[in-house]
Amino acid sequence: MKFSILACGGALFAWGALCGAQQPAADSAAPDSLKGVELKGKAPVNPQTLRVVLPRAQEATLSNGLRVALIEDHKLPTFSVQLLLTGGGLDDPGNQHGLAMVTASLLREGTAQRTSRQIAEQLATLGGAFSAAASPSSGETSIGFGGLSDKAPAIFALAADIVRNPAFPEAELQKYKSRFVSQLQQQRIQPGFAAQEEFMRAVYGTHPASYVVPPEKVLTDLTRADLERYHKAHYMPNNGIALVYGDFTLKTLVQELERAFGNWSQGAAPKLSLPALQPPSKARVLLVDRPASVQTSLWVGGLGIERRNDDYFALLVMNHILGGGPASRLFINLREDKGYTYGVYSVFNGSRFPGVVLASTDVRSAVTDGALQELMGELRRIGAEPVPDQELKNAKRALIGGFALSLESPQTLISNLATQKIYNLPADYWDTYPQRVAAITAADVQRVAKKYYDAGKLQIVAVGDSKEVKKVLEKYGTVETQGAGN
């Protein structure tokens, strides 16, 4: 999609509604584990956790080897397709990080039969959606399209032309580069973006996973021949899987796909080889100076796990307790108890290579000291003390109960399916998920907290006004400073 336009809509025109809310505060009546939340015990909670069964996908393979998985749902006359091609930025040549991304972005800028403008107009006329993305740190190129069921044949035909026959016109490539560079300057003035870039560099060093966006020099040097080469090597049916949600039967879907993609010819599918990863060997404190900033963005964390790692479920539960939402320790402490921030969260991710563990927040400059102290204190506490029983039970209940809500979300169901396929997880993976969550113990939580939020290897990144925050950061180590937007 045109992330520029969407981003602009969000950043320039988020006027009007303000999302508020959620909160607790301290009360002595509550047990220690729930410090900050007062439970009066009168709310009529149904003690049973509603167990739900996620829909199983129906599968098929096209004559040319393209695998297909469908979650059939006729509730609304719409459909969406996600076509995943193995490769992505992780398969970029060592000196061309960003090639997969630019190839994906240029698909819709012209084919053998259609100009960029014709593609835009025809797609819009159908009311259809099309997007293609491959970040420099991704293991896949992801192509999405969808729309109204009664427009499906036309949307499939258009999408097939875009995916299979891109022309990568020279003029469009030049225009894209110029747009991208000017957008990048805009992104980098957002404190969150600057923090993300610095944090990824700190965790991954020179590994391609460190790239949020491609290096500018690489981008400007790319030629249409590079794009054509990447396309030829990766865009082939036997290197992909189409995950489909919506208003189709498997039979109709396969017919539509055969019509649009059936004569797409196979090739030698690439073998993804990942460069070796050098994990951070020591803790660091990094400051991105942002003069006139009234807040400090704090990102603290380190290297996490691959998606298939056995620690996944322990990390899932640990993260939920630490900062997985407004009922978490970080939120209750830093926002509700101390009033330092509007929001504070922790996340973790993982794919074919180890992801990150991360706790982050934005606080007014004057309370950077207290906020960082509390944040670091919570990271320490969850590794130092076993989580109390009730808090653990509630976290597991929330994670398992939340499955019911995912039944309403095609994005979640498709993303679950993608996870299972990409990482070769067992076919019953999502069915056994609740049991695996339920099996996590307090000792598991403590162990993974200690292991992944290891104080000796923690990366502390701050984006803020150096005049105000440098002294605070010095308490945590030697501060390495750089200017914003570099």
């Binding site: 045109k2 336009i5 999302c19 607790p24 509730k75 719409t78 006329t125 900033s293 809500l405």
Partner: protein, 458 residues
């Protein structure tokens, strides 16, 4: 095309009043797949309007409570109060502890939030279907018996001020965004920002909170919408049990939202220490959100600035390479709104050239009818967007409550698409001429300032 897709089956219980719709103004040119959201409406003796949509498609329930109050109801010296008050609604009531509301929702696998806008304030939660009673209990208890203390107020004042720093003071162009309404509107109701000024937030007192609660958080000033996997008679029994005895209050004062007619362009230039590129913001005054012309204005906006097929994208961003990004929308308020256009200027290019190119495209819309494909684009995109937007139970609950408070017309959830389908190419040209005039326009150009030279605002 001819199939009837039902999402949410009408349960014929209680006094199914309302649902009297604004008729589409003419027959749509093409048949539209008939997706309908069937709902019932009942009014409790205390004035609370209750809407139910039974839908067994997924084992979830969604509750939305829409209160007929927003920043439009704030008085001078108390800007930001409606939103600050919204935060207080999570701080506990007679039978619900401080923070317990969200704790119970999240601990049981649900999601929730509250949101405050110019026109209304919404509270909503989605939970697994076996927790309907919990959701209703939580909403009823705070409607009946909010607990207000100085300590809680001070605590949330800090959270809100931090939210202001995050969204306004620390954002490039945040100051310009906030100032835009001050220039665009003449009437105080919409002229001031929903987040409010730091001074006014500091001035808010517990007496203000108590008074605001009594005046606006009464059952007769609210709409309860419940969507999902439940039996309507059981849901209604629970709703009566928890909400019936919340006392009615006297009707809140009405607010005049009328704007004096604008006779000349309004324009300002600002500087921003956090910005690196020049930004141009333009808006034209448009009528109230339920005016018939809004349909044509939204089609116009789609043609002008929605997606990479749009005229502004193709001309300014792609062909002339004048902008980094651009986009906009038509807002939908109870009172007068605007058609907004925003653009960030590329390094080395001039704001005047961007503006001139935008006005050239607008003139084209006034001179010549839009193309057939452009009209089809607007209609198909709208229809697809609409179907996506009614997928979740929460979205339907929120939409019903919003349309009821804003326009007293919950059935807009079913009739709005037909309103778009009725728009003609000539309608678009007519509204372009009528509303997109220079004298009806407000413009703010924001230039980057070197950080050292500027002192950021409070």
């Amino acid at each position: 095309m001819n199939r009837a897709v039902r999402i949410g089956i009408c349960a014929c219980l209680a006094a199914a009043v309302s649902a009297s719709a604004a008729e589409p103004r003419s027959t749509p040119a093409k048949p539209v797949a008939t997706v309908r959201v069937e709902f019932t409406e009942t009014t409790l003796p205390n004035g609370l309007r209750v809407q139910l949509v039974e839908d067994h498609g997924a084992p979830v329930i969604a509750v939305n409570v829409a209160y007929d109050v927003g920043s439009r109801n704030e008085r001078r010296g108390r800007t930001g109060f409606a939103h600050l008050f919204e935060h207080m609604m999570f701080k506990g009531s007679s039978n619900v502890g401080d923070g317990e509301h969200f704790y119970q929702v999240f601990s049981n696998g649900g999601s929730m939030n509250g949101t405050t806008g110019n026109d209304l304030t919404l509270y909503f939660e989605t939970l697994p279907a076996n927790q309907l009673e919990l959701a209703l209990f939580l909403e009823a208890d705070r409607m009946r018996s909010l607990e207000i203390t100085q300590k809680k107020l001070d605590n949330q004042r800090q959270a809100v001020q931090e939210e202001r720093r995050l969204r306004v003071d620390n954002q490039p162009y945040g100051a310009a965004d906030e100032h835009f309404d001050e220039l665009f509107y003449s009437n105080f109701a919409y002229q001031h920002s929903t987040i409010g000024s730091m001074d006014d937030l500091n001035a808010a007192s517990v007496e203000d909170v108590a008074q605001f609660f009594k005046t606006y958080y009464a059952p007769n000033n609210a709409v309860l919408s419940v969507v999902g996997d439940f039996k309507p008679d059981e849901a209604m029994a629970l709703i009566r049990r928890y909400f019936n005895d919340i006392p009615r209050q006297s009707e809140p004062p009405t607010v005049d939202l009328n704007e004096p007619e604008q006779n000349a362009e309004r324009r300002e230039t600002m500087t921003d220490a956090l910005a690196r590129a020049t930004q141009v913001q333009i808006a034209y005054k448009t009528p109230a959100g339920n005016a018939q012309d809004l349909y044509a204005l939204r089609v116009l906006s789609s043609v002008l600035q929605q997606g990479d097929s749009s005229r502004l994208y193709q001309t300014l961003n792609k062909e002339k390479e004048l902008t980094v990004s651009l986009g906009g929308f038509v807002d939908e308020r109870i009172g007068p709104g605007g058609l907004y256009i925003g653009a960030t200027v590329r390094p080395g290019k001039k704001a005047e050239d961007v503006e001139a190119a935008i006005y050239e495209e607008i003139e084209r819309l006034q001179q010549q009818p839009i193309a057939e494909w452009e009209l089809e684009k607007a209609k198909n995109t709208t229809r697809y967007g609409y179907l996506q937007s009614i997928r979740t139970a929460q979205a339907r609950a929120t939409m019903l409550g919003t349309y009821t408070v804003k326009f007293n017309d919950p059935n807009l959830i079913n009739t709005r698409v037909a309103g778009f389908d009725a728009v003609t190419r000539e309608d678009v040209r007519r509204v372009a001429k009528q509303y997109l005039q220079a004298k009806n326009r407000t413009v703010i150009v924001t230039n980057p300032a070197p950080p050292a030279a500027a002192t950021p605002g409070a």
